[in-house]
């Protein structure tokens, strides 16, 4: 009798527990926090500049992450989520600005400046070395006589004058 009562109580407990656990667990196809953050880390909320959306603690950003969750749950791809946010909040929400108009400067200027710097450095180094390599020849070298002989003669002449 006791065991039957125990089984009955256990059955009731299991029946009660099933809906609760079903409510606690998200549907199997629901996006995980990691999936949401993977998208969010490439975005910035205009309200909290310089803080990526995945770590931004403000209410505005929390709402944005909820929006990402909703879009992903509806089956949107990562690119479609970005497109949605750009449409609603402008392209400044993207960590990597789209390659259009003046934005191109961001992608072109740094490599061009680095390249120009390397070229300038190369020519500067070449010019610094040039004077040493192309030093004017001494009179002794030009005349083909060894320098020490020339100096010896000079000193000899000076000695005579003294």
């Amino acid at each position: 009798m006791k065991s039957r009562l125990f089984l009955f109580v256990l059955l009731i407990a299991l029946l009660l527990a099933v809906p609760v656990s079903a409510q606690d667990n998200p549907p199997p196809d629901a996006p995980t926090d990691d999936e949401i953050n993977a998208v969010a880390k490439n975005m910035y909320c205009p309200v909290c500049e310089n803080v990526p959306l995945d770590v931004c603690p403000t209410l505005a950003c929390e709402q944005w992450r909820a929006q990402i969750r909703e879009l992903l749950a509806e089956g949107a791809t990562e690119q479609e989520v970005y497109d949605y946010f750009v449409l609603h909040y402008g392209d400044r929400v993207l960590a990597e600005p789209p390659r259009t108009g003046l934005n191109w400067l961001i992608y072109i200027v740094p490599p061009v400046v680095i390249l120009a710097g390397i070229v300038a450095l190369y020519f500067a180094l070449r010019n610094w070395r040039k004077p040493v390599a192309a030093a004017p020849q001494s009179q002794a070298e030009k005349s083909g006589e060894p320098e020490d002989e020339y100096m010896a003669r000079l000193e000899e002449e000076l000695a005579k004058r003294n």
């Binding site: 209410l59 505005a60 709402q63 909820a66 609603h88 402008g90 200027v109 120009a116 020519f123």
Partner: protein, 196 residues
């Protein structure tokens, strides 16, 4: 003699080569300076734009079209000849809640005259939360998202709430940064514009 001629010829060739080299470096320098100055000009323009601050009273109000949450488009034709009260707000903005009820009351006061149009531009917000906010404060004047933050950028707002009063001629008459604390604060500005 022959040696001297050879030396002179060598010197002339060296001078020519040197001049050519200098000529090339001059062009390179001009190009480099041109690039640097161009880049500085772009940075300066961007800097001036960001440092400009809000659109000030007396300036012509920027043209804009607000598409409401209901899908209605409110543009220049609907605004012509009316005093416009353009309020920037967001559901996540706590100070906005301070003035929400007063703005709605003011709208109810002026709506029958047809001379004043209140508009709400929802800044960087999600539609679900925005709808909850409008419902919470029973706001009935036209409200819509600031799509692409185009309106807020045109007015160069710094945050929310901010409210812009545009006179009947389309000029900006008054700018309120931060929330209104009383209903009288709103009505005083509108009454002043109606009397002028």
């Amino acid at each position: 003699m022959a040696e001297t001629e050879l030396e002179l010829q060598t010197d002339a060739v060296e001078t020519e080569v040197e001049n050519e080299r200098r000529g090339m470096s001059l062009w390179a320098k001009l190009l480099a300076w041109g690039l640097v100055l161009g880049l500085l000009a772009v940075v300066a323009v961007q800097l001036v734009a960001t440092q400009q601050g809000n659109v000030g009273p007396g300036e012509p109000a920027p043209n804009f079209t607000l598409t409401t949450f209901a899908g209605e488009e409110i543009g220049a034709a609907e605004m012509q000849g009316k005093i416009i009260v353009l309020n920037f707000w967001a559901s996540w903005c706590k100070p906005c809640e301070q003035e929400a009820a007063d703005l709605q009351t003011a709208w109810e006061m002026y709506e029958p005259s047809g001379e004043v149009l209140f508009l709400g531009a929802d800044y960087v917000d999600t539609q679900i939360e925005a709808s909850k906010y409008l419902e919470k404060f029973s706001i009935t004047y036209p409200n819509g998202p600031d799509l692409g933050t185009r309106i807020s950028q045109a007015f160069r707002i710094r945050g929310v709430p901010e409210t812009y009063f545009i006179d009947k001629e389309g000029n900006l008459a008054y700018v309120k940064i931060g929330p209104f604390t009383t209903l009288a604060e709103i009505t005083d500005i509108i009454d002043g514009l109606l009397d002028s």
